[in-house]
Amino acid sequence: MNLMNKLILSTFAAGFLSVTVAQAADVVNVYSARKEALIKPLLDEFSASTGIEVNLVTGNADALLKRLQVEGSATEADLFITSDVGRLHRAKEAGVLKRVSLPVLENTIPQALKDSENYWYGLTLRARPIIYAKDRVDVGQLSTYEALAQPQWQARICLRSSQNVYNQSLVAAAIHAIGDQATQGWMEGMVNNLAKSPSGGDTDQLKAVAAGVCDVTIANTYYLARLINSSKTSDQAVAKRLAVFWPNQKGEGAAGRGAHFNVSGAAFTKHGKNHNEAKALLEYLASPKAQAWYAKINNEYPVVKGVKISPALKGFGDYKMDPIDLEILGLNNRQAIKLMDRAGWK
């Protein structure tokens, strides 16, 4: 029993000691909703070149936001990184962000991809077009997101759950373009046209289209690019059956507003204590080198001009982006979910 006691005690001691204290000199603490695999390599590189240590917690954006709110002035986090602009806006609304004007970033990041009051900065672009089965869809039939509500798509559409933030932002943009009523009508039409009840992620929808469960879906392009670049032949086979259609490119008004896109971005926390280090990290994340990494590793579109995009993305062609003020995606988020509930989009 004595040995047991010692064992228990030493596990407790070692367990607690293994947690590093996030308060050393030259350090920046990051709350990130980007997955560890999609940010850690950049942070390591940053640490290696500047000597600034980066401490990281990843998680769901809303959970991290809640943590920031509850911690208040005592928070140890300096930077808040999300993979969706709606959550950056929500953080701004919650009063946990700090306005910081960074001349370097103001020159490189286009006005539309950052907060008008400098509360947050976009770091990568994510486009969400229509993706269809080459062998079963005549491209002439495709035109706009809204047209997917037409009866010709009966039992031919797959959609990811409305729980997903990318779909919520898509709907938030539609609310801005065509209003509440038309948006709800559009979604009701799409829900009627579903081939299967929404489940799984974007990749699952792509695989469903390739397998013949349905003929079209709406998905972020980097998921398709990942399948194209995959070393697995089954993934490549899926990708070969699919093609990207950029919707809402032609026509007047809402019909020609451009394809939906979203940004992942970063913001300073209001009570962050390591301002200079956080500034250095944010500038690094917007540097051509880091931007090229996003483009290469995760097939996202860079926000900085002149950075090369991946060959897979290049293959999807050029497109017109919806010039919506990104803040609106955040503002309309709750309304979007309400309308999705009403339209029966699970």
Binding site: K35, A37, V57, D62, A74, E76, D204, V213
Partner: protein, 541 residues
Amino acid sequence: MFKRHGLSAFAVVIAAFILLPVIVIGSYAVLADGALWQHLYETVLSEYLINSLKLLFGVGTGVLLLGVPTAWLTSMCSFPGRRWFSWALLLPLAMPAYIIAYTYTGILDYAGPVQSSIRELTGLGYGDYWFFEIRSMGGAIVMMSLVLYPYVYLLARSAFLEQSVNSIEVGCSLGYSRWRALWSLALPMARPAIIAGLSLALMETLADYGTVQYFGVSTFTTGIFRTFYGYGDTAAAAQLAVGLLAFVMLLVLLERYSRRRARYHSAVESKARADLIPLEGSKALIAFALCLSPLLLGFMIPTAQLLYWAIFEAQPLGWDFVELAWNSFSLAFMAAIIAVILAIILSYAKRNKPIKPIGSVIAISGFGYALPGTIIAIGVLIPLAWMDHSIITMFEGFGWDNPGLLLSGSLVALLFAYTVRFLAVALGSVQAGLEQIKPSLDHAGRSLGHSPWAILRQIHVPLMRSSILTAVLIVFVDVLKELPATLILRPFNFNTMAVRAYELASDERLVDAAPASIMIVLVGLIPVLLIHASISRRRPQ
């Protein structure tokens, strides 16, 4: 006399502390303005409710059908493979529900190898042939039943094994057949254990998010997540969580009603083992098949698939897996020790002073098990951050350096959350163990002038060693698999195997998640095998 009250008071203080997060959530629920509630009521609430009930009913039936017959067969009958099954049937306990769901989806959905080959071999297109849709309510019920039945199996089996052989023997000598003895004696006597296992499985079902979310089944719990994450409305999410607790109260009341005044310990001491009922021929084959199928479906097939992915297709884990494994292991170990010590104190206080208020307080302190980890995490975060702020203010008052977030930013938050979440598991096992000890032993100890503490340490703990060990090990496995609370509350640069598996899976890289998933299963196997050893040692075989 003081000491007796002291124990009760101490138990109440512990229970209150454990209940703190639940109270925080409850107070949030009161604060909600009701506007969103109205919208939820009009649109999705009835679906959440109906789906949750279907899921509970389905999984409840599933775990009973899988757990009780296998427990009976392996403890009372003799057939080829019995010894092997008696421990192997526990293995699915090591498999997290969300991981078995991911794995079977990879095998069985439209893009998986099975359906792809059907299409290639027959030339049919999707929809031209019938195939079980894995991502459905039925799929969720099957997945959860397969990994949750070991709770019923474990508790039912140890109840069967601990039953005084005399009761069965007397039954038989009075002319009961062995099977009649099962229905009329063994099953009713094992009822508290079976119900305890069932309610653990059902609470786990209610709290599950990963599986139902992945399968696109909207339940109360996915509704809570949607309300909290999507609407960003903590108060309305808290209201839904309180609704979830109403379900749990129903379960607890049902359990208590089913036991009422019954006594489940035997008045006679007997450690003799009844002869096993020999099964031969087709009967033995049926028994073998009954035991093999849950094991095959709940463990062997998914493990084989995960191993295949991990070895042949996934990006290999780097050396940081050592750190991940250590983090998972040490957290689970610490949480298990804490939860079980608290469970012993609480159950003993109840036994020592079986008055209503204490019994109720203890029953309520196990409620955290049915709450989703996210909700518990929020309930833990709020009071701990408040305490941290007070500590910081105090330090500043003394002119000391800011100590940082000592509680909410450290492992304390995680361990607190795990205790709240998994105390019910420990309580179940410890209480069952304690109930099997005759009260006359307590009376004897007390009449010899020993304090309750001394009686607990010197009589009860040694007598229920195996129940205690079982409790430690189940909490250990549960913490190892826990995800949502870990994700929210962990300190900087601290990851576990579950977090790693989740991050890759939620980034839609299921195959790359396989190495971390298989590690969870393998580390989880160690305690599962220990549980078996501890139960078997109770009885000479």
